[in-house]
Every structure is written in C-alpha cells, then in structure tokens.
C-alpha cells in the first residue's frame, strides 16, 4: 500500500476541483540567451577543481484548473550546466522519473511534457546551437508505478553549455516535489518559484546543509471561476553553493543536500469545512488513528482462539516472545516497506507473506488481543533520512514496528519481519527518533536505548615449549552477538572458523568452541605461534581489536551517526615465565571530549600473572563535523592498542 493513500485524496480532489479554478499558467522555464561569459568560462571560481558547474537551475510550481481533468499542478524545471572538462560530459545524459501507475484504478498520475534540450558550443568565436531531437528522447516503464523519460544531449564536449527544460504535470496535488538547491557539482544559481492558491496551506521546510538563501514572499491574485482570489507566491534563490561531498559512513546521504520539502497542512476552501493534514505531530497522529489502512490492522484482526490458552499465565516478556515467534513462523516479509497495510492479519496469514506494515501492524493487533498494551511505532530506516523533529511528512516514514508498554516510560520494541531477538531491533531501524502512535495523542520514542554492541574478550597468554599460546574467550551480547550470529549463519560454523584463521594470520588456530547463551553467544579458541626462547619475549596483548582505524579522511562535512553504542572490554593475562620480568608500554586513558566516548587501560600484577585491561565505551552516537577530528583521533588511538607490544625480559 502506498503512503499516497493515507488520506482520501480522491475526496480532496473532488472538492477542490469543483470549488476552484485557476488560470492555466503551465509555462516552460525559459532562460535568457546563453552569454559569451558562460561560453568562455574556464573554471568555477569558488570550486576551482570542479569538472562541471550548474550555471542556473530554475523551478516553478503552479496550479492549473482544467474543466475536463480538474486541478493539476505543473512543475516546470530548467537546467543550464557548463561542462568544464570532457570527463563531465555524462551530465548531458538525463533521466527524469515520474509517478505513473500502470493500474488504471489509481487516479493519481503524472506526465512529462514540453521537453526541450540544447547544447551550445563556441566554434570559431561563434555560438553554435545543437538541439535535442524528438527521435532521441526515450520513454521507458521502470516498474508498475514509475516511468522514465531519458535523453542524451548532442554534441557535448569540454566547454559546452548544456540546457534542458520540461514540465511535469500532476494531479497528485497533495504532494509537491522536493526541490534541491544543492547537488554533487557546484551551483552558481538556483531558484524556485511557487505560486499556491491561498486555500492550500503547504509548509515549505528547509532541509539539509543550510546555505544562505534569498526569499521573497508576496500575495498575488489568481483567477477562480472568473472571480479573482488571493494566492501566495514565494521565490527563493541560492548562489554559489558548493557541491555535496561524497563521504564514507554516511547513514542518510539523502539528508545532506540543501533542499525544500513541502507538506500539505490544510485545505481551507470557503464554504467547506477546513481539512487538516499533518502540520504537526498531533495532527499526524490523529490522521493515523483515523486511517483505516493503519489503525484498523493495528488493532483488529482475527487469530486462532487457542492462542489465548497458550499464552495464559505467561509473563509479559514471555508472551511477547511467544506471540512474535508465532507470527514470524507464519508470514514472510516480502521486502515491501511503508506504513500502511492494504491487507489485515487474516489475509497475510492466509498468503504467508506481507509488507512490513502488514506484518507488524498484525503483530501489534496480536499483542493487543492477548492483553498487552501495544502501540504501533512509525519510523524512517537508515538511508531513508531522519524524520523532522517538528513537522512530520508522511513520505518520510517507511517502516512500522510494535512497542509494548512494560512500565511508566518503558517499552519493549518488536519487529516480526526480522530475526533479531525480541526487544532488539534490526540495525536498519535505528535512525534517530520514531513516533509512537496512540489514541491518546502519540509521542516521540527513542529507539537508541534498545541495545548496543557488547563484546567482552578475555585471553590468557603463556609460553610453552618455545611457543606463545593464547586462549581466547569472546562473549558477545546484543548487536555484537547479532553480527556474529549473522556471520555464522552466512558462512556456516566452519566458514566462521576460516574467517577467524584469516584474521589471525601467522597463528595456528585450534580448539574452537561456539555456544549460544541466553544473553547472546560465547566462543573460544586457542592461538599458537613460535616464540623462541631468547632474552626477550614479545606479546601483542589485544590481537582481537581491529587494527585498521575506520576514519581515514582528515576532515568531514557530514555527521557521523552510529546506530548503537559500544561497550567493549578486553582483558589479557600474561603468565610470565619463570625468570622473566614485564615491561609494559606507557599508555594513558583517553576520552572523547564531553565523555561521549572513553577508553581506559590498566595493567597490574596479580597472582595469575600480569593483567592488562582495556575498556572502551562509546555512548554518543552522533558527531558533528567539528567533533570529527577528535573522533578520528579516538579511533586512531584505539587502533594503536592492536599494535601494542609488551616485552618480557630475562632478569
């Protein structure tokens, strides 16, 4: 079920179509003639090594009434790009996607029209124009919902200026397109004009890396059924915008570019009751509770009566685990996301599969019908962008889980589509706050408290017959256990041992044992290596730590955003051979400023031998670009422990 069905757009369509009409203002974006300055431009002054630069990108959103087709919006876009280097000629290959459901039962539809393209080249001091021909424009259906128009602008080389424009016509009036002010190449100028009939109250939200912006807003008059009515015109412009940088470990790249997103908040047509949409989370919550594709499957559904007997007498957690498993065994996730369900529990149990919303709303209903206080929680998964803290946007949410209340402020979070243990959400769900939907008004809920990467390693090093022998025990819980379990499932147990052997190259690995525990898992192995028997013996006390520091670049422009925290403890006991003494390197405790992450190290002599303990705790999950150098230094410092060497010296 597409989120587009969340409110009855058909009703909205009928009402507005009969109530108002605006002058037809669908206009293609027209640029001024290309200038000699643009043609002779050799580099982008504020981004000198750019291979191409957007000279001008313009958008215009206007509404039009057609007596036959009703109310439409037109989104006209025009782009002019300077190709500075031949390697950027691929910019002239353009694909425009638009919503075009193949099923005739869906009323919303879009089309692309008035497509024009041209390439300008400077030849012998004259500007030569080569136009895109109609025969070189292709239309392709991508899937059941989307079509694509594609074309390659002709005669493009270093120095060319390319330009194209088109208009997208849409009757999906409750959802205006996002407008991007920033892209992966620099932009000299980018502007957007939108003219909305006053009756439509859209919130325009500035998102991404905010850049200086000029904005002008004015009241304008529009024509309605031969009567003049007010409208709102907003113009925004940015200039000299740097490109969005491509960086590793960005969990939501779509959140980076500076852009404006629109959300319809209300429609207020004289003589008709005001229709409210999600302008605030309160309204958003109300909308969901009233939505028959959301609240109904979340609260109703028929399940076998014998289940009641089976869970009778169970504690809350046992009941949650039992019911989650019961549903998991009967339905498979079909990998469709979204927050509304077109089928209820009965249908998905019959078919054996369902979307995330269908399965987890059914889970919520299953919980409710067996005496648990359960609420559906809507969220945006990693990679899909972080939800806005003040203004909800339906399209921003793509996943539902169920939360069972276990205390005043405590919830047990469940996802029946994944195979994580109850209470531990799959990492893709951990993407900032989520919204718990309830009859009482709903609330934000933090998912970050659901678990962490917990790893406890203890090893003993001893010297025997000229060999260095290390017994390693690794205990893992929560996300560390989840990751290892996933790896064992993928590679098989033998494959996992091979993986360990590769990791401990230079060692002989034996005595591998693996067991699942109620809290997670535990595995043991022994490493052996020739050590010699000289004056000096060397020990690397923390071989389990990864040696490669994750952050390589010296600066960063995007947030670092970990899904969960980390708690690691590595304890190594060195059985010091008779006649030897220990020399340990100097290491001091280091912390991330503000105590978001800390690493401590101690070494002391005990009856067992020399004990070294390293503890790492990462609590802070988000790090700004300003905090990045300290974070990099933290991980660099941590990686140095993997290379640390303890010397045993003959007395």
């Amino acid at each position: 079920m597409n989120v587009k069905c969340i409110f009855d757009t058909r009703l909205l369509f009928i009402i507005v179509a009969t109530a108002l009409a605006l002058p037809s203002s669908a206009q293609r974006v027209r640029f001024k003639p290309v200038t000699m300055k643009e043609m002779t431009m050799e580099r982008c002054d504020f981004c000198p090594d750019a291979k191409a630069v957007v000279l001008d990108r313009r958008g215009e959103i206007t509404f039009t009434y057609y007596p036959s087709a009703g109310l439409m919006y037109h989104f006209a876009e025009g782009v002019r790009v300077k190709i500075l280097d031949a390697s950027a000629a691929g910019r002239a290959n353009v694909k425009i996607r638009y919503y075009s459901p193949s099923a005739s039962t869906i009323e919303n539809n879009e089309r692309v029209m008035e497509l024009k393209g041209v390439t300008y080249n400077l030849e012998n001091g004259k500007i030569v124009t080569t136009r895109l021909e109609r025969a070189d424009i292709y239309r392709t259906r991508l899937n059941a919902y989307t079509e694509e128009v594609s074309f390659a602008l002709p005669a493009v080389k270093a120095g060319s200026v390319i330009e194209y424009s088109y208009t997208r016509e849409s009757n999906y009036i409750s959802s205006l397109p996002d407008w991007f002010f920033q892209e992966d190449i620099p932009t000299l100028s980018n502007e957007l004009l939108y003219i909305l009939p006053e009756y439509f109250n859209f919130q325009a939200r500035m998102m991404g890396e905010i850049q200086p912006l000029k904005r002008e807003e004015k009241r304008v008059t529009t024509q309605l059924n031969d009567v003049t009515h007010p409208g709102l015109s907003v113009w925004m412009r940015v200039q000299e915008v740097p490109p969005v940088e491509e960086e590793p470990y960005v969990s939501n790249p779509c959140d980076l570019p500076f852009r404006v997103e629109f959300q319809l908040v209300s429609v207020d047509i004289p003589g008709i009751p005001v229709m409210h949409f999600a302008g605030s989370y309160r309204q958003f919550n109300k909308q969901l509770v009233e939505d028959s594709y959301f609240w109904r499957p979340a609260t109703r559904g028929s399940f076998p009566v014998e289940l009641k007997e089976q869970v009778a007498g169970m504690g809350v957690e046992a009941k949650i685990a039992f019911l989650t498993r019961w549903l998991q065994e009967r339905v498979t996730w079909d990998e469709k996301s979204g927050i509304t369900a077109s089928r209820g529990a009965r249908e998905i149990l019959r078919d054996g599969h369902g979307s995330v919303a269908e399965i987890n709303l059914a889970l919520n209903s299953l919980f409710r019908q067996h005496g648990l206080e359960a609420y559906p929680v809507v969220l945006s998964t990693r990679g899909h962008g972080v939800i806005h803290p003040i203004y909800p946007n339906f399209d921003d949410f793509n996943y539902v889980i169920s939360a069972v209340k276990t205390g005043e402020n405590a919830f047990f979070l469940c996802d029946a589509t994944s195979h994580t243990p109850p209470g531990l959400l799959p990492p893709h769900c951990l993407n900032g706050p989520a919204w718990l939907v309830s009859e009482g008004g709903g609330r934000f809920i933090s998912l970050e408290t659901t678990g962490g990467l917990k790893q406890y390693v203890s090893s003993t090093v001893r010297f025997e017959n000229g060999k260095r022998v290390v017994n390693v025990e690794v205990v893992e819980q929560e996300y560390a256990a989840l990751e290892t379990r996933g790896r064992v499932a993928r590679l098989g147990k033998e494959g996992f041992v091979e993986h360990l052997k590769e990791r401990y190259a230079g060692w002989t690995l034996s005595n591998f044992e693996f067991e699942r525990t109620p809290e997670g898992l535990r595995y043991l192995f022994t490493l052996e290596q020739e050590a010699g028997a000289g004056e000096l013996l060397y020990v690397t006390p923390f071989p389990v730590l990864p040696g490669d520091a994750p952050f390589k670049r010296d600066t960063r422009s995007a947030l670092v955003d970990f899904p969960y925290g980390t708690m690691m403890s590595h304890t190594t006991t060195i059985r010091v051979p008779e006649g030897y003494e220990v020399e340990i390197p100097e290491f001091s405790e280091f912390k991330f400023p503000k105590r978001g992450a800390a690493c401590s190290f101690v070494g002391y002599m005990s009856v067992e031998g020399y004990v070294l303990t390293l503890q790492v705790m990462i609590r802070q999950l988000r790090y700004t670009p300003d905090e990045y150098p300290a974070l990099k230094a933290f991980f660099d410092g941590l990686s140095e422990f993997s290379r640390m060497v303890v010397v045993l010296k003959k007395r």
Binding site: K51, A86, N143, P154, G352, E494, A505, S639
Partner: protein, 625 residues
C-alpha cells in the same frame, strides 16, 4: 514413503556437511530438466522444470526467479509450488505473480525487461518446484546450458534435451560433459545430455570454473533476426552477417571526412595518425548505451555519432573506424567478450557470445586494439577488460579470429619506494613514491582517478592508506605516459601516527604493509575448481627506515626467497649508515592451476605470513652500545 525419501535426502545433505567435504550445503537440486525445441528457422522454445530442496536463506536463489524478455524473447508461462518436506503445499505461484521491471539501469534506453518472482517462505527447509516456458523469435542466440548450481549447492540430476524435429540443424559443444544421447525425433533428431551428483563447491579467488564444470553451448547452423538471414557454421560466415548489418553505417558526412583529414594533416606515420584520430574520439564523444531491438547488434551509423557526439561501444567503434578509413588507415570492427573475468571464447565453436566491440588497427610491426569507450586509455591500452583473449574481426570477407595481446609480468609492474623517518613517540614521517605500469594501473581504481578532481584524488589517497593512520601533508599524481603499456603513479608525504608502537627503549615496526595480499582470502577447502592467473605482475617495495639516533636493529626479518610455480617472493634487508632497507619483491606468474589450490594457496599464505614480519629497534643509550 514420500516423506521418508525426502528426509533421507535432507540427511544426505546434512551428512555431506559433517564429512567436511564442504562446509555447508545451502540447497540441493533434486532435478533440473531443460528442453530446447527448434520450431523453425527463427523460432525456438525453452522449457525448464526443476525441483530444489532449499536448506538455508542463501539457498533461496532457486526461489528467486528472474526471467528476461525483450523483442526477441517472451516469457510464455511460469508455475511454481512451494511445499514442506511432508509434501504439504505452502504456496503456489503463477505467471501473473511476477513483478515487472526495466532491466539494468546503466543504459540510457533499453527494451530488455525482467520479470521477478520472489517465492518461498523464510523458514527452512522447504521444497520448491518451478516450471517455465520461454519463446524465442530470432535465432542468433541459442541458450547455453550451465547446470551446475552456485556455491554451496549440490545437484542430484540435470538434463538438457535439444529437439530439432524439422531437422534444421543444431550445433553443440559440450565441455566437461559426456556426449549426448542421440535419438530420432520427427524428421530430425533429439539430443540429451545429463549430469548427476555434483557436490557443493566454494568459490574463491582466481576461480576458473569454466575449466572444470559441465557446460553445453548451442548454436544454430542458419539463423535469422528480424528477417536478416545468416549462417553460423564458420566465423567467416558469422562475420559476413555482422558485416551486412554494418552496411552503409561507416559512412561519414563530408565535413566528418574533412575533420579527420585535418586532424592528420602533416602526420606521415600511420601510428601517429591513429593516435590523432583516437584522441579526437576520446575528447569529443562520450559513451551512451542505447540497446533497442536489433540495435543490440547493429551500430548507430557513424554519421549519427559525428553529429550527436555519443554512442555505445558499437557506434563509437564504427565511428572510429570510419575516421581511420578517411585518413587511409585500414581497421576492423571487432567483437569481443570483455571483462576481467570473462570466459574465454570457444575458438572452434562459432557462436554469438560477445558483449563488446573494439577496433583492431593492424599496423606494420604491431597491431593496435582500440577501446573506443574509454576517455583516459592511452593509444592501444588493452587493460584487463580486453587483453589476452580471442576476438572476432569483421573483414569484408567475413569474420576472422584475432588474439588481443596479453600483458606480461614484466609489463604489469608496481614499484614502491617508501622512506620512513621515525620521530620520538613512535610516529613516522612518510614519503611514498609509487609507479604503476600496465594492468597494475587499474589497482585500487587508480586509472579512474586520473580524470577526477584534486579534491577527489586527495580523498582517494587518504581512503587507500590502509598502511597506517595517515596525516596527509601533500600528494602528487604523476602524468600518464606511454601507449600500449602506460605508466603513471603518485607520491604521498605525511605523518603516520603511532606507526611504531614503543615500549621503554624499544620500538616495533612492521615494514611490509605498503603492498600486501590482505584482500586475497582462500577457502580452507581444497575441494575446488581450477584457478587461473590472467594478469601476472611484479611488485617491488623498497622501504628505507632512518633509525633514530643511537639505536640499533635488535631483530630483523631474515632473508626470504620463495620460488614456487605460481610466483616468487623475496625479502632482503640491509643497512647503510643509519638507514635500514627492507626490499620486498613479489612476482605472480600467469597460468592455470589444476583443481585444488595446492601451490597457489600455500604461496599466498606464506607471503601473507612473511608480510607480518616485525622489526625491533632498540635505543642504545640504556645499553651503552
């Protein structure tokens, strides 16, 4: 009874896990039968039906069916049933349950589409039975039968039946498979191949599965596409058909001819003329893929490229050839199966198994092979994409096989010079100078970096610094020089933080970290397909470590000299004044190694081990010399 048999099979699957022959079996193909029927000169049909026991999530590939279709191929029907081990039906699927998509995404336009059925529950085990039928129009391609399933999947039985009831003629070539059983069918023949009992295998580095796994190639005698008839019995005849598709497509407009001549004005040498033309193509055209109908085989005319300045490999090759022709240089449109790991062409079995087009320019003394879709490749650079394989040149007389020259281990060379200057506390000042030649230029996507901005190159240098925590001070990319075997490289200066862990008076240093085999991971199992090293190389690292004042090398790696069939490796360390030199030399020889990694794995493991060698430096002041 049925249930008992199935559980027996399941146990066999699990037992093979326990014996250690393979670490796990994800799926067991119980039967897989394909029938290919030739219905007419331009029509044929594929019917396939299989039954698979799926044991794990990874084995679900058989329940995730993707069928392609386009103007020449239609999906007629599909039926599937998922049952549990007791035979109880869990779910049935039909043709209409497939989701329809455009294929690929890289192309600007294509008519190739795909239907995907994602079936099966995520509880294991289960059994899936699938039967589908595809109908082909046009007979350029007959299917290839490749019955061995993917990694960690066992196969009980598979058959291929080829029916030629009208006796139109079908050609076949089987590799690693017994000859077919031939029986009369209608006016013609029926051929049946069968394969049984294939154990699960594990894929690994340098795999060459085509050298040992059963496969049957099929090809027509006479064929037709969109009414264009041809014969595929010889390369010559197949080439004639391609040549007919090209008729008139290599004509340039007069201004195009004039431009080509102007580019070569005053140039006498054919090689230099070819250089001027190739550079012009690289600088003024771009690769854009449009694959529609017969356009998948027929190039856009040279006239189109001359005007629009873009095209796919066929169009750009055709255009390059036309330009060369305009300046009197003969050249050939050449079909090839490109890709670093592409299967070799069967030179004795003419068929249409190509995926790319290049231009062959026979020059006196040497031949140039031009990759016309690359913007950065120097003249005649073959790279791993097209080097060392057979290709089909299209001449006016028809197709003629040619072999694109290999690169040798002496041509594919990386030379790295590193200077390390230890500063108190264990940080190290780094100077790294790396020169790359031949196919080695492709390592770490270096070649692609040559057309990137300085900002992107800087990020690449930092991202590639797996040798330590690099605080980058400066870097420089060297120009690309040379033609067929080009050279380039880069220099890096910076500080390696915490590179030498310290303990009291001692410093520890691991010198062989700048060139490693850390990403090559072999499976434990020796039960394996043959391996092939296609791109031999020589990698020489010289690491010069300037010792801190008053210090000595307390422990140095001993000299190593490994010489095995797959390659050679040596470590040699010496001291000159206060600088210690660590020289690592690694050579990999081209060649095929029979089933089982044997020497190759042993060689790589030993190299990986020696690369971990550590040096201990002792500051002398506490020892009084």
């Amino acid at each position: 009874m049925r249930r008992a048999i199935l559980i027996g099979i399941l146990l066999t699957g699990l037992l093979s896990t326990a014996t250690g022959k393979s670490s796990i079996t994800d799926a067991r193909v119980l039967r897989d039968d394909t029938r290919f029927t030739i219905l007419g000169p331009g029509e044929s049909r594929v019917e396939r039906s299989y039954k698979v026991l799926v044991l794990t999530a990874r084995g679900g590939e058989y329940a995730n069916v993707m069928l392609f279709y386009d103007k020449f191929r239609k999906i007629a029907s599909l039926k599937a049933t998922v049952t549990d081990l007791g035979g109880k039906v869990i779910k049935r699927y039909g043709t209409g349950d497939g989701r329809d998509y455009r294929y690929g995404g890289e192309e600007l336009a294509t008519d190739m589409r795909v239907k995907r059925w994602k079936m099966g529950p995520d509880r294991y085990p289960y059994i899936i039975e699938v039967a589908y039928r595809e109908e082909y129009k046009g007979s350029l391609f007959y299917p290839r039968w490749d019955p061995v399933p993917g990694e960690r999947q066992a196969m009980e039985s598979a058959t291929l039946t080829v029916c030629d009831p009208l006796n139109l003629g079908v050609r076949y070539k089987g590799l690693n498979v017994a000859d077919p059983v031939k029986a009369p069918e209608g006016r013609g023949w029926r051929y049946t191949w069968s394969v049984r009992g294939i154990p699960p295998r594990i894929a690994g580095p340098f795999d060459a599965p085509w050298a040992s796994l059963p496969v049957v190639y099929l090809a027509p005698v006479g064929f037709e596409m969109e009414g264009l008839k041809g014969n595929m019995e010889t390369w010559e005849a197949f080439g004639q058909w391609i040549d007919r598709l090209m008729q008139g497509r290599d004509e340039l407009p007069p201004e195009g001819i004039a431009r080509a001549r102007q580019l070569c004005e005053g140039i006498a040498s054919p090689r230099e003329k070819a250089r001027a033309i190739y550079r012009h193509v690289q600088q003024t055209t771009r690769y854009v893929s449009v694959q529609l109908g017969i356009g998948g085989w027929q190039p856009f005319p040279a006239r189109f490229v001359d005007q629009k300045r873009y095209g796919d490999c066929k169009a750009l090759s055709c255009y390059t050839r036309a330009l060369l022709q305009a300046v009197g240089i003969p050249s050939y449109y050449t079909l090839i199966r490109a890709g670093r790991e592409a299967e070799p062409l069967l030179t004795d079995f003419p068929s249409a198994h190509f995926n790319h087009v290049i231009v062959t320019v026979p020059l006196e003394g040497d031949t140039l092979w031009l990759e016309c879709t690359s913007r950065v490749a120097p003249l005649g650079f073959r790279g791993s994409f097209i080097s060392g394989r057979h290709a089909l040149m299209i001449t006016p007389e028809g197709g003629r096989l040619t072999r694109v020259r290999d690169y040798t281990g002496e041509e594919n060379v990386t030379v790295t010079r590193v200077s390390l200057d230890i500063v108190p506390g264990g940080d190290v000042r780094l100077g790294l100078d790396r020169e790359l030649a031949g196919v080695e230029l492709e390592e770490g996507h270096f070649l692609a970096m040559l057309e990137r901005s300085e900002t992107e190159r800087r990020s690449w240098v930092m991202d590639a610094a797996h040798y330590g925590n690099l605080e980058l001070q400066s870097f420089r990319f060297k120009p690309l020089e040379g033609d067929e075997c080009p050279r380039s490289g880069y220099e890096v200066e910076g500080l390696l933080k915490g590179f030498c862990p310290t303990n009291g008076d001692r410093l520890f240093l691991t010198p062989f970290v700048f060139t490693t085999l850390r990403d090559v991971r072999f499976a434990e199992s020796d039960d394996h397909v043959p391996v092939e090293i296609r791109y031999p190389c020589t990698r020489i690292d010289t690491i010069a470590v300037r010792l801190p004042e008053n210090s000595v090398m307390e422990s140095m790696p001993g000299a190593v000299a490994l010489k095995m069939a797959p390659g050679e490796y040596s470590i040699h360390c010496y001291r000159q004044g206060d600088v210690c030199y660590f020289v690592r030399r690694f050579t990999l020889h081209a060649g095929r190694y029979p089933a089982g990694y044997g020497d190759l794995k042993s060689f790589f493991r030993q190299v990986q081990l020696h690369d971990l060698s550590r040096v201990v430096i002792h500051r002398k002041k506490d020892h009084n010399g």
